[in-house]
Symmetry: C2
Subunit: 168 residues, 2 copies
């Protein structure tokens, strides 16, 4: 396979995977493009390579910066901004985990805790089933949350390290 073709496939696959997991396809594609670029790229280059508009490129790059996956670079003597993606895969995984935990897991946990406090008749099957389901989900979500917390605190590659060894 040619490098050019491989790049194209990688970008497409990353975009598809992103969209299946609730991440904007274009954002995932821009991230993929920057990931495989040895040098930082300009907005123009991103627009050109992915055939997207200036507005789209600008917003997407801003989002990627907010996710902590891309950084702006300045070059002396130049007005243009350059965008560079962090290449460390373990860092990327942690960053994504951190953001999704904050944006999605934590709000749900907060609600689950409130819902657990609902009052009702212990004899009522509707009440009992609701309470049991909410409590069980809350337990699992709390464990996921704590585990992510530990993962985020760990400086090194927690996944490659301690966990995976459990399974040879």
């Amino acid at each position: 396979m040619e490098l050019a073709e491989a790049k194209q496939k990688f970008i497409e696959a990353w975009g598809k995977l992103g969209s299946e997991w609730g991440i904007n396809r274009t954002m995932a594609q821009v991230h993929a493009l920057l990931l495989i670029s040895p040098e930082a790229l300009t907005t123009e280059q991103v627009m050109e390579q992915l055939q997207i508009s200036r507005g789209n490129a600008n917003m997407t790059l801003r989002d990627l910066i907010n996710w902590g996956l891309v950084e702006k670079q300045h070059r002396s003597g130049e007005r243009k901004e350059y965008f560079y993606a962090e290449k460390d895969v373990w860092y990327i995984a942690r960053q994504v985990a951190k953001e999704r935990k904050r944006r999605e897991l934590e709000p749900v946990l907060k609600l689950l805790n409130q819902l657990q406090a609902v009052e009702g008749d212990e004899q009522d099957p509707e009440y009992k089933t609701f309470k049991t389901s909410v409590t069980d989900i809350n337990k699992l979500a709390t464990n996921v949350d704590k585990t992510l917390e530990t993962m985020l605190k760990a400086e090194e590659n927690w996944f490659f390290g301690s966990i995976f060894k459990l399974f040879k």
Copy 2:
């Protein structure tokens, strides 16, 4: 908080979480509704409670069955079909993990393996960066895949058990 209000909030939150993770909002809501229902419900009841059309209810229930989260029940002397959601949260988590692994992780792994075989000039930074990124992602994805595999084989609650103990 009233039980009725709590139910409503739970269904909304589950729908929102689902849509953030690439799962159709309605499907997540129907799942939530069945999860907190002590008894199996009919298509009519699902339509009524979530204010959705017959076609939508039917397709969504079929999808939930395909995800292995809901089962059809028949009652003697009745023509209607009843739908019941598995209540075991650990079972649900494993089922979702299993399906997403099969539908999304495995196709990506297959591609990454192909992309790793791309030929090129070792001196070319474009080639080197591409290869390194793809190889690193492949390593992480392979580890995630193997870990999920182990999780799926484990009959018992792997998460509550061995893993979580690592972090006290």
